[in-house]
Structure formats: C-alpha cells, structure tokens
C-alpha cells in the first residue's frame, strides 16, 4: 500500500536524505525521534510533509536546514545523511531559505529592515535591497506596517514578514514549517498563491511542513505522510492534479478523494503502536 519513499524522479535529486536517524537526550533518557528517514526531492519539486503532532516534522526540517544535529552511528567526520546537489550538508546556508514554525524576526529591526537584513546577507547593494524589500513587504500586504517593529505586529503579520524574508533572496530551496499556520483563510490563500507564483517562476525546490491536508494537496507534487513512535515515513502520495491550480480545483472529485486518502493515512500512521 506504500509507494517507495524515495521515488526516484527523472532528474538527479536536488535533496537526498538517506537513513537519517535522530534521538534526543543521552543514556536512559534517550528518546528516538526519527528512524531511518529516506527522501529525495527533485529540482523544482514541491513536497509536503504531513503527520500527527509530535511525529518529528519540525525536527526533520531543522536537520535539513543544518540547524539540528543528526545521529551519526558511523562516526565518520564527513558523513551526512543529508545531501544537496550531491554535497553533504553540515551547516545552514543561504542555499536554503527557512520559515520557522515560530516566526523568528529580529526584534530590533522593523519589518522592512528584517527583510533587508536577509538581502544584505545575500550580498545585495543598499539601493537594490531597499527596492526588493519594499516589493516583498508589499507582496505580503504589509506596506502600511513596513516600519513597525515585530512587537507591534499581530501573529499573522509576523509570519508574513518571515515569509517575505524567505522569498526575497531567492534561495534555491525553501524549507517551510507551517508557514501559514497563523493566517486567516483569505490571507492564507493569497500567500499560497504568492508562494506558487515564486516557486514556478524561480524553479525553487520546496520542502513544506503543514498540518492542513487540503493545503498539502493543493500545493504539492508529492505528499509524505509521517507516523509516530518513532517518526518514520509511512506513505507517499503523488499529486497528479494539473497545474496551474486554481481555487476551484479544491472541490473536484479527484482532489477530495486524494485529500481523504491522505487523511486516512495520517490517521492510520498515528494509530500504529509505537516501536
């Protein structure tokens, strides 16, 4: 019933995850969080990860981002279970844009400056930086709040600034952890469209964590269902809906069928006994 997790696409994979394990703590207190995760993303592929709360989605994303360590039983110094364009990943870098589950804005910078900060890191010149930042602040509909500090923004607004920032410097790969979690339906739809647009135009590769199955089906080329205890890839669904997708697609027979299948898979994965 399970499609192979690492369904190899035609082109060489952008991202390869091989036999990734992860546990927290040491000794008796050690808890296994991720077990033998295998996953490939082709260039320009959009893959969503879904699964019950606490199954290790955020942890997986952090490891791919290079922000969290992985278990390394081989002990080799230059071994990494994560490879991008064939090169092992040991640290974070500009090639992967990240939107965290808890939107990390620098509190001493305004919304606009937070975006510019990333652009500066990417080596953009001051004038250009300003222009691009303004453009992206406008894309997430925060023109009026460009000069507000994070503490003056609502939850959803902060999240949008984080999205603007991650998109602004055009990393080849985007890692997003429930990026639209705090957004109302309307704004969420606008942001989804924005993401689609940027993804198509700039041929990004996206690894997307969400708890909204409709969103996953709507956006993705492929959906990975993770199970719990410890976190494992349980099932993978290919989404063969035509692109570009419009909001009408959500009500098609095909869409709803897939959505139900995924939901069912999540439910089953969550109910398996741990171990």
């Amino acid at each position: 019933m399970t499609a192979p997790a690492s369904a190899s696409p035609a082109s060489p994979p952008k991202l390869e995850i091989r036999h990734l394990n992860k546990s927290f703590g040491t000794g008796a207190q050690q808890i296994e969080i991720l077990r033998d995760i295998n996953l490939d993303l082709a260039a320009n592929e959009f893959v969503s990860v879904v699964g019950t709360s606490g199954c290790g989605k955020s942890t997986l994303l952090s490891i791919v981002a290079g922000l969290e360590t992985f278990d390394d039983p081989s002990g080799g110094r230059d071994y990494s279970p994560v490879r991008i364009d064939g090169a092992p990943v040991f640290d974070a870098g500009l090639d992967r844009g990240v939107v965290f589950q808890s939107y990390t804005l620098l509190p001493w910078l305004t919304a606009q400056q937070n975006v510019e900060f990333a652009l500066q890191a990417a080596g953009m010149e001051a004038a250009e930086r300003r222009r691009v930042a303004e453009e992206h602040i406008a894309l997430v509909k925060l023109e009026r709040f460009a000069n507000a500090y994070p503490s003056e923004l609502s939850g959803g607004m902060k999240q949008r600034v984080a999205i603007a920032r991650a998109l602004s410097y055009r990393p080849k790969m985007l890692l997003m952890d429930e990026p639209f979690g705090a957004l109302d339906a309307l704004t969420r739809q606008q942001m989804q469209e924005l993401l689609m647009q940027v993804w198509e135009q700039h041929r990004l590769t996206v690894l997307f964590v969400t708890h909204d199955v409709e969103e996953a089906v709507y956006l993705s080329d492929r959906i990975v269902v993770m199970g719990i205890g410890p976190g494992r890839v349980r099932e993978t669904f290919r989404v063969d809906l035509p692109r570009p997708r419009t909001s009408e697609i959500v009500e098609t027979e095909e869409f709803l069928a897939l959505q139900h299948k995924v939901l069912k898979a999540i439910r089953e994965a969550a109910q398996r006994l741990p171990g």
Partner: protein, 253 residues
C-alpha cells in the same frame, strides 16, 4: 503609573530621609562628628565649591573614572561576546576570569604602583581591574541568553561567525550589555576611592580620605552625598537613554 507619580514617590522618599537626618541632627542624638547637621554639610560643600576645590576634585575624578571605565568596557564587551559565543574561548578565558575576579582589588594597589607608577595611569589600572573582570562575566551571561533561534536565523542566511556576532548577537545582547555598563559604572566609583588612596592630590576619593583623617565629617558626608547624586544622575540618564535606544523592546505587549 505616570512619570509624575513615579517622580513624586521617589522625591518623597528622599525628602523623608532628609527630614529624618535633620531631626536627628537637631535633636543631637548622635555626636556631630559622626552625624553632622545638614546645614553644616551644605555650608561646607558651598565653601568647597566657592574656592574651586569641589570642581577640581569632581573634574579629576570624572576624568579618571571615564578613562578607566571606558578602557575596561571597550575590552570587556568584545571579550565577553567571544567568550559567550564560542566554547573554546569560554574554556580559555572564563575560568581565568573567575580566578582573577575573586582576588581583592585592594591587594593590587602596590602591584599597580610597581607596574605603572603613581600617575593617573595607576588610577585607571585600579578602576580597570575592579570592573573589567566582572564586566566580562556579565557580558558573557547576557550573550548566553541570546535566543538560539536568532543565531539559527543568521546561520540559515549563511552569515559568517563574525557577522553573526556583530550583526545578531551584539544587537540582541545590547540592552543587557547596557544594563551591565550601568551597573558596573557604579562600582567604578568605589574603586576610584581605592585608587585615589595613592599619590593623589585631588579627586573626590582623595578628599574623602583626607577628611576622614581629620574627622571633617561634614566634608565626608558632603562628598559622599555628592557621589550619590552623581551616580543617581548618570544612572537615570543611562536608563533614559536605554528606553530611547531600545525602543523596540518597550513597545511590546
């Protein structure tokens, strides 16, 4: 609470203490040599101000504090940043700083003379010894409180370690570092008095020591109060500066 109410309460407390002093001195419960009357203290300060002693003393002391304190801060902040950011630096520096900071500053006075003579440099050195090591530790503690998420953000943006320190850790730690400076500035004044025990001919600390010798309690009290006022003013100024500089923190809910 409004600014006015705050000021009102603070002033009332000071007024109450001044009143208690006035009454105690008038009632003669304590010998004037140990508790001079407010009037005699004010008179003595006025006298010292009139003949210029006060201003010279203040000028000299402020100069010494400023140099000693700025030197210490200018060295402690970068070092504290490094020690707080890298475990290797922490291993190399932190135990040493802990070791040295427990050594009594007073015991360094003869050594300081040996090293740099009896001029102002010696005063700077004593103030430096008294503040630098404590500052390093305090800055380190502040740096360690920088949320790991901020550093993670810097890493995902591919910033070099140096840039992460200057562009993320430093600004994030800045309000805390500012507090550290404000607090250590207070001690610098205490070390000034210790420093001015040696080969000084002016300065607030020097004057207090000389006055102690002759039981000129009104001078002692006057100068001690003056130090208190100077401290209070710098402190409140630094606080006001902080609310201005770090606006973004105060606007939060």
């Amino acid at each position: 609470m409004s600014r006015a109410r705050f000021l009102g309460i603070a002033c009332a407390v000071f007024a109450a203490i001044a009143l208690a002093w006035l009454v105690a001195a008038a009632a003669g419960v304590v010998r004037p040599i140990f508790l001079p009357s407010p009037a005699s203290v004010v008179a003595q300060l006025a006298k010292l101000a009139a003949d210029g002693t006060l201003w010279t003393d203040m000028g000299v002391s402020v100069y010494r504090i400023l140099i000693g304190f700025l030197l210490a801060s200018a060295m402690a902040i970068p070092l504290g940043l490094l020690v707080g950011s890298y475990l290797t630096w922490e291993a190399a520096v932190e135990p040493l700083v802990d070791f040295v900071r427990y050594m009594p500053v007073v015991a360094f006075v003869p050594l300081s003379i040996l090293w740099v003579g009896t001029g102002d440099a010696q005063k700077f050195l004593i103030i430096w010894i008294g503040t630098f090591f404590q500052q390093v530790l305090l800055v380190m503690d502040v740096v360690k409180r920088v949320p790991p998420d901020f550093i993670g953000l810097g890493r995902t943006l591919g910033l070099s370690d140096r840039k992460i320190i200057t562009r993320i850790i430093l600004p994030s730690a800045m309000p805390g570092i500012w507090d550290t400076l404000r607090i250590t500035l207070g001690w610098a004044w205490t070390w000034l008095v210790v420093a001015e025990l040696v080969a000084a001919t002016s300065g607030l600390g020097y004057r207090i020591v000389v006055a102690q010798r002759f039981f000129q309690t009104n001078t002692i009290f006057g100068y001690i109060l003056l130090l208190g006022v100077l401290g209070l003013v710098t402190d409140q100024a630094m606080k006001a500066a902080a609310t201005h500089l770090f606006r973004y923190t105060t606007r939060g809910r």
